[in-house]
Symmetry: C2
Subunit: 210 residues, 2 copies
């Protein structure tokens, strides 16, 4: 655990990546596996994750993200794209996955299926989008932890034009909307922010113990 | 990294905790430290985290969470409570923390401060609440990763009456609103769900590689 906390202290929101350093195929697989194992409400994973290394696409995304250099200098860009609304078919597909994975009958999942539908499909569309987007932030947390474990640098980012991202990536026709992104790779020696002391609330200011 | 992924595979949303097993003070400190180190937009940490072990409070929360047994059987309940709206004073307090931690002048942070204010204070109140709530989901991800590292069980939960939680915990007068919670402790042998195979989207269904 000491190492885990040291890794979390080591990480920081990297502003400049070394564009010559690429994440190995093995490490990239591990990062993706951590994201795949992320918790989500009901286990539904109401999102898809785009992993972008195509230079031309990264250039376009950079232009839609206030020209922030991370978008092109980083080895990969993870784009977390959540369901713009929850559709009954997503829940049906999930139920089939549960039944197949656990070797049980779909009919035995009727109650569980109805519970998810009751809680999600009845929400106003806007709240559905907020709910699915929130789940991507858990997955982002899983990515950041895995990256720190591998001593891979990352920068979680919200400063981008989501509508333009959706257009560049063709997400709308897939029923998806860009929620949050993270660039991953290796810090450049020139990134001065790596020397900045980490700023966090003190325990006394963050926690209320009851 | 193999161990990290094994830990993520080991974890599951624990439904029944062994109420006789309590998290040690040392491990609880480590969980809290991981949460404290969580990333958040601008580093603002627009939330507080309640760590509840008082039995009477846990009983009240259980009643406001569809009587789910985790609330009382778990060793602690982590309640992530986000700012109901972003106030200028939160940003000022944060800027003072940045200046003190890094030994720089507050005036040197003027531009950074204005950027945060411009991006957050101008949002409609509802969107401010969504934005702050999303940040707690990253912290939840950090908690789940730390717990798995320590082989501590956890159950992230959204199935509760947030308004009742706010009332029980006196959050409204603090400008906070319950966003998401997680119960932590040790699984009961009687929790049959620990034997269920983990269900996740396949890599092919989750990722789009560009």
């Amino acid at each position: 655990m000491k190492t885990h906390l040291e890794n979390l202290n080591w990480r920081y929101a990297t502003k400049r990546f070394d564009e010559n350093k690429k994440i190995s195929a093995e490490d990239l697989s591990a990062l993706k596996e951590a994201v795949r194992l992320s918790a989500s409400s009901y286990g539904l994973q109401p999102y898809q994750v785009l992993v972008i290394e195509d230079e031309e696409t990264k250039e376009k995304l950079r232009a839609a993200a206030n020209n922030q250099p991370q978008l092109t200098e980083a080895s990969q860009v993870f784009v977390f794209a959540s369901y713009a609304e929850v559709k009954e078919e997503y829940i049906e597909t999930y139920m089939k996955n549960v039944a197949e994975t656990r070797g049980i009958e779909l009919s035995d999942l009727q109650q569980y299926s109805e519970a998810i539908k009751g809680a999600s499909l009845t929400l106003p569309k806007e709240k559905q989008a907020v709910w699915t987007a929130k789940q991507t932030y858990i997955a982002l947390g899983f990515l950041l932890n895995a990256a720190a474990t591998l001593k891979i640098d990352a920068c979680p980012m919200e400063g981008f034009n989501a509508a333009e991202f959706d257009k560049i990536l063709g997400l709308e026709e897939k029923g998806l909307a860009t929620s949050v992104i993270a660039t991953v790779g290796y810090r450049s020696e020139e990134d001065v922010t790596q020397n900045f002391k980490k700023v966090r609330k003190s325990s006394d200011n963050l926690f209320i113990n009851i």
